[in-house]
């Protein structure tokens, strides 16, 4: 890495923030040849600083904020030098020296050194527990303090301070915002808006102290409070200072560049030395230093054009040609506080601030104010042209208004424009309107991408344009635009995790590529399952399926039914359905069931539609004892899994019977029991086309015919009744069961979670399924068989054994109660795993059943700690 020889690069980007990254991308977009190097002082690749506010709230891994994955830098031939700093820059010579001692020579340099938080020189400012809010480390400190219940004071009632305070309050800790002025966000808001904002924040648990000038940070060993100019004071254990930023100009200054508040640049983003440009929070353009992201993208575009023109000039530093000039940006701020909708655009309080708008002229404003509902919408008009807006409580139309301010549109009737904005749909937006503020993407670019690449889903649009790849708050707008462009024809993906818009395929790829074997790990990697948790059972299935059941089982990811292996009833009790393969039982089993029903006062004993016996109304604490007394394996009647194989008696007794449906069904059930599936799978085997076991409305139905068997799939007997479609007609029972199993595995691998086989067959198509399941030459059926075999061997044929070895503490009881005393042998005295129905019991019925119950090896890894 460190190379004492001087390396040459055409373009040297100094600073790896959002600005540095934007410059690299804008240059690379225009030239594949120029060599680019970027020096990043922070020990990480460029990341999305804006989202630190979210990180504070949701505690996500900072690594998720990385703007581009590592491969991007290799693919795009951008030499990212991470954890090093440019310490000296000689613009005339075109050389730079790094802290590591490494030297670089360059054609052009772009200073993207950003800014540092302003820390006022108060007594106590360097006490432990006084921090800025700028990097991931700060987030961690704040979150830790909030988790410990530390009182947090935030100095500064601007955007950043409020987001910091909200982050603290959202974790249930106390947050107080201390602000110098008499209203919050005074630079972006006027009085009425600020007055609405304050109670909204307090409703979220943020306390606000206005007109307090901090005089002293109390110590002495670590921060203990703040004392104000009026001698009042508050106690706190952490102080977050968010009063503003200072451009980092030291390097520029030392290199002899013109520096005022920031590094002075012209409309081409060139500093006072023609070889050096500057972009981002360190740059000062026409007197403005911007502290937000949107201008960075505009500046980076211009800077890239300039770099290319400069390069065309070779070593000659005279500039050839002129790029479209950068004329400044309109400020637009959106508060990232959940539940407080607030956007401020341009000159919002008619004071002449708000970015590159001229501050002269006569200003008027018009507002709609509804105190009751907390809605305030105001337009500022200067000399008849739109100059700014504040939208609070209802931010509809903000893209339209931002665009209007940018183009200083004529506003004859401000109230009419306000009304129009609240009706505006994405279809009405001009092409120049910026839709994604995170990544600076305009509507025009989105429309163009959709048309050029024939994009059909929001996901594709996001991937292509990066609009919505940031916070995602513009994703609904992106979807709307897609709908408009495609005339309503949009193929939306089915999301396994709707909160994070992740499909089963997305997540399966992550699981495979990163070798993930548990839901927690998957959640940690991509956030799925953390917000509402609704998708966790789906994730659990996915993780188990991809790992062929050799995953790390985590009970918290399972629905309660799968945690205690019973079906929860409306009163919180459970139902118990023992395994009764093919609906075939014995007098001994029936006797035990009867005994249990009496002993435990079971409120209801019922025969189910799947030919099983259901004991209803069992208390959770009684489950282990009930199972012990039953001494039968779990019937899995509570899970999204293989449920039941229904059978008719078939040729063993029935005078029409063509095949031994009963034994075929029992055998089939043995082969597949214990397997989880995308949704429940119900099967049936009938002994002749009279179809008494109702095979033709099952997920998989098998029917004996003259000289063979028919296997059909995708039926449904509940909800919308559907008849199965024929998959194969085969000669032998064994081949019929084999076809059923290969199809089952195919469904296990390709079904969306909670997609029954009927819609699955419709979606995938019968022909595709036939090809995969029946075309032996392709090798796919064999592969499906092999994966099925591994998954089956690793599945748990009887989770009721957890009665003796609970998977988690107090699995069946409450914190302060115990399970009912066991009936039967004490824990530890293991009986034979599972009894067989063969022998003594079978006799009574006179059935000549010869059934060998298979117990799969349990090779699952330990449950989570």
């Amino acid at each position: 890495m460190t190379d004492t020889l001087t390396t040459h690069t055409d373009v040297l980007v100094i600073g790896g923030g959002i600005a540095g990254q934007a410059v690299c991308e804008a240059v690379r977009d225009r030239s594949a040849e120029l060599s680019i190097a970027m020096v990043c002082e922070e020990p990480r690749l460029p990341f999305d600083r804006v989202s630190l506010s979210h990180l504070l709230v949701d505690g996500k891994d900072p690594a998720e904020l990385q703007l581009r994955p590592e491969e991007w830098y290799t693919d795009q031939a951008v030499d990212a030098i991470v954890g090093d700093r440019v310490t000296a820059l000689d613009a005339d010579a075109g050389t730079a020296v790094l802290a590591s001692g490494r030297a670089l020579s360059f054609g052009r340099a772009v200073l993207c050194t950003g800014s540092a938080p302003l820390m006022p020189p108060l007594p106590g400012i360097d006490l432990p527990g006084v921090i800025p809010f700028r990097g991931p480390e700060d987030c961690q400190t704040i979150r830790r303090a909030a988790a410990e219940g530390t009182e947090v004071a935030v100095i500064g009632g601007g955007l950043l301070g409020l987001e910091a305070a909200y982050g603290v309050a959202s974790q249930g800790a106390s947050a107080t915002v201390v602000h110098l002025m008499d209203r919050l966000m005074e630079r972006q808001l006027d009085d009425p808006a600020a007055e609405l904002l304050e109670p909204a924040l307090e409703g979220l648990g943020v306390k606000v102290l206005l007109e307090r000038q901090t005089r002293l940070i109390l110590g002495p060993d670590r921060v203990r409070g703040l004392r104000f100019a009026d001698d009042t004071q508050i106690e706190c254990g952490l102080v977050v200072v968010a009063i503003g930023i200072r451009s980092r100009t030291d390097l520029a200054k030392a290199s002899g560049l013109d520096v005022e508040r920031g590094i002075v640049v012209d409309d081409r983003m060139i500093t006072s030395h023609p070889r050096v440009l500057s972009v981002g929070e360190c740059a000062q353009h026409r007197g403005h230093v911007y502290g937000i992201v949107a201008p960075i993208h505009e500046q980076a575009e211009v800077a890239a054009q300039t770099v290319l023109m400069l390069d065309a000039a070779g070593e000659d530093t005279e500039v050839l040609g002129h790029p479209a000039p950068y004329e400044g940006s309109i400020l637009s701020a959106k508060l990232k506080v959940m539940g407080v909708d607030l956007v401020s655009i341009g000159d919002a309080d008619a004071s002449g601030g708000g970015g590159a708008t001229p501050a002269m002229g006569h200003a008027t404003s018009a507002a709609v104010h509804d105190r009751e509902s907390g809605v305030y919408r105001k337009l500022v008009v200067r000399d008849g042209k739109l100059a700014g807006a504040i939208l609070m409580g209802d931010t509809r139309g903000h893209e339209l208004l931002l665009d209007g301010v940018k183009h200083a549109i004529d506003v004859p009737d401000p109230l009419a424009l306000l009304a129009e904005a609240s009706q505006a749909s994405p279809a009405d937006l001009p092409d120049t309107a910026q839709v994604c503020n995170c990544n600076g993407v305009c509507k025009g670019e989105i429309v163009k991408a959709i048309q050029e690449h024939d994009l059909g889903s929001t996901q594709e649009v996001v991937a292509k344009t990066r609009a919505g790849a940031g916070c995602g708050s513009c994703k609904p707008t992106v979807s709307e635009i897609l709908k408009v462009v495609r005339g309503g024809k949009v193929d939306e993906a089915t999301y396994l995790c709707p909160c994070r818009k992740q499909t089963r395929e997305d997540l399966a790829a992550v699981v495979r590529e990163q070798g993930i074997d548990s839901v927690s790990e998957l959640s940690k990697t991509c956030g799925a399952g953390r917000e509402c948790g609704a998708c966790k059972p789906g994730l659990a299935y996915l993780v188990s399926e991809v790992n062929h059941n050799q995953h790390r089982e985590e009970r918290h990811a399972r629905f309660i039914n799968d945690r205690v292996h019973g079906n929860i009833q409306k009163d919180g009790t459970f139902s118990v359905v023992p395994r009764m393969r093919g609906g075939v039982t014995t007098p001994s089993e029936l006797r035990r069931i009867a005994d249990v029903a009496e002993k435990f006062d079971v409120p209801c004993v019922k025969v189910t539609g799947g030919q099983r016996i259901d004991l209803l109304g069992i208390k959770k604490e009684d489950l282990p004892a009930v199972w012990e007394a039953l001494d039968m394996p779990s019937g899995y009647a509570y899970a999204k899994s293989v449920r039941t194989v229904k059978t008719c008696v078939g040729n063993q007794f029935c005078r029409f019977g063509l095949g031994d449906s009963m034994n075929a069904g029992v055998e089939l059930e043995q082969m597949i029991e214990g397997l989880y599936t995308p949704h429940k799978v119900k099967l049936a085997v009938s002994g002749c086309p009279r179809n008494c076991a109702e095979s033709l409305i099952k997920d998989i139905g098998i029917v004996a015919i003259e000289g063979g068997w028919e296997v059909s799939i995708g039926g449904a007997g509940a909800g919308t009744v559907r008849q199965t479609q024929l998959l194969a007609r085969v000669d032998t029972k064994d081949r019929a069961l084999d076809v059923a199993i290969v199809f089952l595995q195919y469904y296990r691998e390709h079904g969306e979670y909670l997609e029954r086989t009927a819609p699955f067959v419709d979606r995938v198509g019968l022909d595709t399924i036939k090809e995969a399941v029946l075309n032996e030459e392709s090798g796919e059926p064999d592969r499906l068989r092999e994966r099925f075999r591994i998954a089956k061997a690793a599945c748990d044929p009887d989770p009721w054994r957890e009665r003796r070895a609970p998977a988690v503490p107090k699995q069946f009881s409450e914190l302060d109660t115990e399970v009912t005393a066991m009936v039967g042998p004490p824990p530890g005295a293991e009986k034979p795993e599972i009894a067989s129905v063969e022998g003594e019991d079978a006799g009574g019925q006179g059935a000549r059943l010869s059934i060998q119950r298979v117990v799969g090896a349990t090779t699952r890894k330990a449950t989570d700690a």
Binding site: G172, G203, Q233, E235, C532, G533, R555, H556, P809, L815
Partner: protein, 145 residues
């Protein structure tokens, strides 16, 4: 993360109105368990970074919240999927709120204090009206410096 030393003794906790409900180890990560506090059935959950507690019965039809699926900050009732925020006590999309009880882990035990059982106890941080909570706590004149 959870075993941040609480600088309190069991006696102090008892004095402050907390009740020992059981062993912390008996509530696995992202699961819930029921317990009784002063005759009231409560549900205690272990979240990724803390414990949380609310009443045991769902405000909808009394479903067992302790049997719900737990995410970072909320629990979903197993019966009809009402989703309760374990910070604020709000139920998503419903006009219902639940009390959030205070849980402290101390020496491997969980102590619960019912919401409203004690003055000054942290209520769920929703809509504390300004009139009711003037300024931050505590504001007092400073000693002459």
């Amino acid at each position: 993360m959870l075993d941040v030393a609480t600088p309190c003794t069991a006696d102090e906790l008892r004095e402050e109105g907390f009740v020992d409900v059981g062993a912390a180890a008996d509530v696995p990560r992202l699961e819930g368990r029921r317990a009784t506090v002063d005759g009231r059935r409560v549900a205690v959950f272990r979240l990724p970074d803390r414990f949380a507690a609310t009443d045991a019965a769902c405000p909808h039809k009394g479903g067992p919240l302790s049997d719900g699926i737990v995410a970072d900050d909320c629990v979903t009732c197993p019966l009809h999927n009402w989703r309760l925020n374990l910070r604020t006590g709000e139920v998503a999309g419903q006009d219902a709120t639940m009390p959030i009880h205070h849980v402290v882990e101390q020496g491997g035990r969980l102590w619960v204090r019912l919401a409203g059982a004690c003055d000054g106890h942290r209520e769920p941080e929703r809509a504390a009206s300004r009139a009711a909570a003037p300024g931050p706590t505590p504001v007092r004149p400073a000693a002459p410096a």
